[in-house]
């Protein structure tokens, strides 16, 4: 690979990473410049992504040299080219929205710094060709989402929400570590292309690991709960997290692992069903949300469910199309709701009711977005969903997916009815924060651009375009949807949407069900059981293991005490002997004061000195006894050695 081409990809990753790090290190000094730096960086990323999509570069940095493909290696192919361009455009739009949406006194350097690192991590994730590189991007992305969700750390609960998101996605990330180990064990390399080349049991371990990791990142069942908490983050973060990064990464990974799924039947089936059921359940959850941001969040998990279903069904073109179209529309809708949140000070449906009428330009964009989300022909998600369904085998799966599509139209209808309804009284406003009562023109432009782009992906319905996508992905044989299927799904969507719009009140009855609480899914993520186990372990540690060690210590101390007592007895004995010798000496001295006397005296004082020194170690300090014993033991051993 020529150096110039490699450097395109290297720059694509390093530029936002370096700019982001620089912003973070500079801190608040860089707040004023942060927006422009981020905009310049994302514009460059977009440009480089387009170039990379054309020249398909590869680059690598060494890591593990003892095995093949142990490097941090990146390369661009059809799938990653599409992802990169989408990532560049979406992040550019989000940066533009962020500059107008963040309050003037916000810590912008920190915000855009983390945002750029987030983008860099995602671009590593989608171009990685080895497992170390994939894990690098994958985990850094998770950490950045933690930092961004907890951006307003002064507000209670935000950091906790970040922790929930990070710990949940990380518990799924363990699957990727396991997959890496399994690939190394099964193929002797760490390359992603080895995934489908293994013909032993390790392939199943790797597949399981990848599935878990992808489900966690994409908020599929049973991990969906973290997405609800993640809504604590600033709106631009939600716009990015729900579109081109994080949740998209899971769907992307499954599409990347398609060859592995194709030869591992249970994994494909599991993937398809998890996707379809998530689309259904989270679609129902979305219908029951009165808060617009929560509704959009649930709908993200549901829509990515279709991408996951596509991966399970082997419909890579449909999956990619759905991923891209969803990214655009969801980012656009989050921009709209976020701009209204800033303007009106609330994201509750009571306050945002009629927001589309107050701010008609943004209202138009949001209405179009809802139509796309609902799957109305001839717009984006309608066409891509049909591409996905074309690949689905089995009636049960097909019906589940169709029902999920109907639910999408229902929740889109509910959102539409809210924003286009009669404006709410002023009392419902400013409940979360003081609103600015202003929707900046920049935000409208960004939302409109994103949503129109997503809607335009309806061109996938044209067979020639669909075939072009399949060529891009090297998957020319994937089935195309039949015309009758397309008419049916379009009719279902339009029907459900109009029904919801006609009777919007009926749907709010769901708000009293468990669906409103995300079907109790967040409870699954409760750390309470782990915390209880941890407390138990700590108690055992302090009162069991440590006490046992102390008991042994006390036993030794008692033993030492006994030895000390014996020592004292011996000492007394020596003393007594010395005393009697002295007595004898004194007696002798009365008779004959000669050399004998001196000798005897000498012996006596020597013996007394021995007695004294024998008593000296008896200091009562355990460690001195111990050290003496140890030294004695050591000396004994050395003696033994010398003698041998």
């Amino acid at each position: 690979m020529p150096a110039a081409e490699s450097s395109v990809l290297a720059m694509l990753v390093l530029l936002p990473a370096a700019a982001g790090t620089a912003l973070l290190v500079a801190g608040r000094h860089a707040d004023r410049a942060a927006g422009s730096v981020a905009a310049a960086a994302t514009i460059t990323v977009t440009g480089l992504a387009v170039v990379a999509a054309d020249i398909r570069p590869a680059v690598s940095a060494p890591f593990v040299r003892t095995v093949d493909s142990g490097a941090f290696a990146l390369a661009v192919d059809g799938l990653s080219a599409a992802m990169l361009v989408m990532l560049g455009l979406t992040s550019l739009a989000v940066v533009a929205f962020g500059t107008v949406d963040l309050p003037a006194d916000a810590a912008r350097a920190r915000f855009f710094g983390f945002l750029l690192l987030f983008v860099a991590a995602m671009s590593v994730t989608v171009t990685a060709t080895t497992l170390p590189a994939l894990l690098l991007g994958w985990e850094v992305m998770g950490a950045m989402s933690y930092a961004l969700i907890g951006f307003h750390w002064r507000t209670p609960g935000t950091v906790r929400a970040g922790t929930t998101a990070f710990v949940t996605t990380r518990s799924a990330d363990t699957g990727l570590y396991i997959a890496a180990g399994a690939v190394l064990a099964g193929s002797g390399t760490l390359g992603l292309d080895a995934l489908s080349g293994m013909d032993n049991g390790w392939r199943h371990v790797a597949a399981a690991g990848i599935l878990v990791a992808a489900f966690g990142k994409s908020a599929q069942l049973p991990f969906s709960g973290w997405l609800s908490a993640a809504m604590q983050g600033p709106s631009p973060v939600s716009a990015l997290l729900h579109s081109a990064t994080m949740v998209a990464a899971g769907g992307y990974l499954l599409l990347r692992a398609l060859p592995l799924l194709e030869i591992t039947a249970w994994a494909a089936t599991t993937t398809a069903w998890v996707g379809a059921v998530t689309a259904l359940v989270l679609g129902a959850v979305a219908c029951a949300q009165s808060d617009l941001k929560q509704a959009l969040a649930a709908s993200t998990a549901a829509q990515i469910g279709f991408v996951v279903l596509a991966a399970g069904a082997g419909a890579s073109a449909g999956g990619l199309g759905h991923l891209l179209a969803h990214a655009g529309v969801k980012a656009g809708l989050f921009v709209a709701v976020g701009a209204w949140l800033t303007a009106l000070g609330t994201s509750g449906s009571a306050g945002q009711r009629g927001a589309g009428r107050r701010y008609p330009a943004m209202g138009t964009a949001a209405a179009l977005g809802c139509a796309v989300l609902a799957g109305v022909p001839p717009l984006g998600l309608w066409a891509t969903k049909d591409e996905v369904l074309a690949g689905v085998d089995g009636a049960a799966l097909h019906i589940t997916a169709l029902a999920a599509g109907v639910l999408a139209a229902v929740y889109a209808g509910r959102i539409l009815a809210t924003v286009l309804g009669p404006p709410s009284p002023a009392g419902a406003l400013h409940t979360e924060e003081p609103g600015t009562l202003r929707v900046p023109g920049g935000a409208v432009a960004v939302a409109t651009g994103l949503i129109v782009g997503a809607g335009g992906l309806g061109v996938v319905a044209v067979p020639a375009v669909a075939d072009a996508v399949k060529d891009l992905l090297d998957a020319p044989g994937e089935p195309a949807p039949s015309a009758s299927m397309m008419v049916l799904s379009g009719a279902l969507a339009v029907g459900a949407l109009t029904a919801t719009l006609a009777r919007p009140r009926r749907i709010t009855e769901l708000d009293r069900t468990v669906l409103a609480r995300w079907a109790a899914l967040p409870r699954l993520l409760s750390a309470r059981p782990v915390a209880a186990v941890a407390r138990f372990a700590a108690a055992v540690d302090d009162h069991g293991i440590d006490r046992a060690a102390r008991r042994v210590g006390a036993g030794v101390r008692r033993l030492a005490g006994r030895i000390g007592a014996a020592d004292g007895a011996a000492d007394r004995l020596v003393h007594d002997v010395a005393g009697s010798v002295q007595l004898a000496a004194t007696t002798a001295a009365t008779g004959d004061v000669t050399r004998v006397d001196r000798v005897v005296r000498g012996v006596a004082s020597t013996l007394r000195a021995i007695g004294e020194s024998a008593r000296r170690p008896q200091s009562g300090l355990l460690h001195q006894y111990y050290a003496t014993a140890a030294a004695g033991l050591g000396a004994l051993f050395l003696l033994l050695l010398v003698v041998r």
Binding site: T66, I178, Y626
Partner: protein, 530 residues
């Protein structure tokens, strides 16, 4: 040259004690200068290493006869396992020196003691003779005993005694094992290179197993692994911050280093036979350490328990190397590299974490989570450093912990699938506990405990000749302090930031370290090539 690196600190320590004309307040600066010079010399060793080692991996060898009757000599040298640890230790000692520049409590003895400790630690890593290793190993315990008992806080004498007794018991077991190796060798010798080249007790599995048991027990206490770890939290809680940093960063490594340097190459068959036990002990330690850490209410105790977790991963990897030998040395080599990198990484990151916990102590005389909150407001630099260190310790890519843990897991799964998969779940618990710690300390309402007057300030100028050894009391003045929670001082930044920077450097450009480690780790793993 290596001898100079090892004994330079001790020589400076002797100078400090012998020349009372060096004023007390200059002593820490002399200490910093000596530690910095040592780091420079180690840097030179690192730079020359590739040229000096002639195929066998060992460079800068030096030999002197010492106790010729038992073939024990002064034999030192470095290879790809010991050199990174020596470098990490030298850096960590320098960080502790910088951190302690403001130490006012008997600074002369303090500096001398740490310099002495540095010599024995570097010496233990450089030693290529069992008796020499043992002497350094034991002296490190003695020196650390005095550090904790003399400069600690809380119930320091009890903790120090517990530490001393426990680890000393371990060193006795180690000595018994060494003598077993000596007696089992065909040519009676304590020389490590000779023993590794011709492993003793090849034909007597029982004796080899017993010797491994003795050595393993000694090292397991030092490492420490479950269930011999309970001395660790007490010792750490009551030790001064630099003492904790050295204890966790360097002294614990003597245990794991002993496994890689002595137990594995000298008793390969026994290690292979008992590798599953090692793996299980490692996994239990990793999970147990993480769980107990999660339940702690004291920041320093929590960090202490995470050491048990991280050292558990090292044991998992080393055990897996023994198991992998039967199948695939490639995966074994990956795990071995991971183990060695983990030792280096843990030294840097946990050293930084303990120094940062010392910030809490100097400001508020407590490490209790419940006493602190919202520190990101008054102390943003502290918050940023703590966050980086915490993410490093939980194994985020981009920092050294990931480089280590990725290789440990990837390499261990083949040899020990179930234990490795259980161990991977430990990274979720560590993620949770570190994020919880960040949440408790840095966010929420700002809470700073009512302070006992702190030692820094005007009292700093006073001559302190050694009677005020009560860590909780103090005669300094605090009224000239500006805020209730001053952010990191220049010295504190100077101590912590280089450690974190090195961790990031290893995280983003691992080859600088791996080029040295990989050959040695491959050699270690090839011992088990069936």
């Amino acid at each position: 040259m290596l001898t100079v690196v090892v004994f330079l600190p001790a020589a400076v320590a002797v100078l400090l004690l012998a020349i009372p004309r060096i004023p007390d307040r200059l002593c820490p600066h002399v200490w910093v200068a000596a530690a910095a010079l040592d780091v420079v010399l180690v840097g030179w060793l690192w730079w020359r290493y590739a040229d000096e080692e002639a195929g066998g991996g060992i460079a800068f060898e030096a030999r002197l006869d010492w106790i010729p009757t038992v073939e024990a000599g002064y034999h030192v040298g470095v290879d790809g396992v010991s050199l990174p640890l020596i470098a990490m230790s030298a850096v960590l000692f320098l960080a502790c020196a910088v951190w302690s520049v403001r130490e006012r409590q008997r600074p002369r003895t303090y500096a001398a003691l740490f310099l002495f400790l540095q010599t024995v630690c570097l010496g233990a890593f450089a030693a290529l003779d069992l008796i020499l290793f043992f002497v350094f190993f034991d002296l490190s315990i003695v020196a650390m005993y005095f550090v904790i008992a003399g400069w600690g806080h809380g119930d320091r004498r009890r903790s120090a005694l517990k530490f001393f007794l426990y680890t000393f018991l371990g060193s006795l077991a180690l000595l018994v094992g060494f003598i077993g190796l000596f007696l089992g060798a065909d040519e009676r010798t304590f020389d490590m290179v000779a023993l590794a080249a011709d492993p003793p007790l090849r034909d007597s599995p029982l004796a080899a197993g017993l010797v491994l048991l003795a050595i393993g027990l000694g090292l397991a206490i030092k490492t420490p692994v479950f269930p011999f770890h309970t001395w660790l939290p007490d010792a750490h809680t009551d030790a001064p911050a630099p003492g904790s940093a050295i204890l966790a960063g360097v002294l614990l490594k003597l245990g794991t280093y002993g496994f890689a340097r002595i137990a594995m190459p000298m008793l390969p068959e026994a290690w292979e036979r008992w590798a599953m036990v090692v793996v299980i002990v490692g996994v239990v330690s990793a999970i147990w350490g993480a769980l107990v850490a999660l339940a702690q209410t004291d920041a320093k105790r929590m960090i202490a328990y995470t050491s048990v977790n991280h050292m558990g991963y090292v044991l998992l990897a080393l055990g897996a190397v023994g198991l992998a030998g039967q199948a695939d040395t490639d995966a074994g080599a990956v795990a071995a590299v991971g183990a060695i990198v983990q030792m280096v990484s843990h030294g840097l990151l946990t050293g930084a974490l303990f120094l940062l916990s010392g910030v809490l102590w100097t400001r508020g005389r407590t490490h209790e989570f419940s006493q602190w909150g919202g520190l990101a407001r008054p102390a943003p630099v502290f918050a940023a450093c703590l966050a980086v260190a915490a993410f490093g310790a939980l194994g985020l890519p981009g920092l050294s912990g990931f480089i280590a843990e990725f290789q440990i897991f990837a390499g261990a799964i083949q040899a020990a699938p179930v234990p490795a998969i259980i161990a991977v779940s430990g990274i979720v618990i560590t993620a949770g506990l570190f994020l919880l710690a960040l949440q408790r300390l840095l966010t929420g309402d700002t809470a700073i405990p009512a302070r006992v007057p702190v030692r820094a300030g005007a009292g700093a100028r006073r001559f302190d000749d050694g009677d005020g050894d009560d860590g909780g009391e103090d005669r300094g003045r605090s009224e000239n302090r500006t805020g209730p929670m001053p952010d990191l001082s220049r010295w504190e930044v100077g101590a912590v930031v280089p450690l974190l920077a090195l961790s990031v450097l290893i995280g983003v450009a691992p080859r600088a370290l791996l080029n040295v480690v990989e050959p040695a780790a491959t050699t270690l793993a090839s011992v088990f090539g069936g």
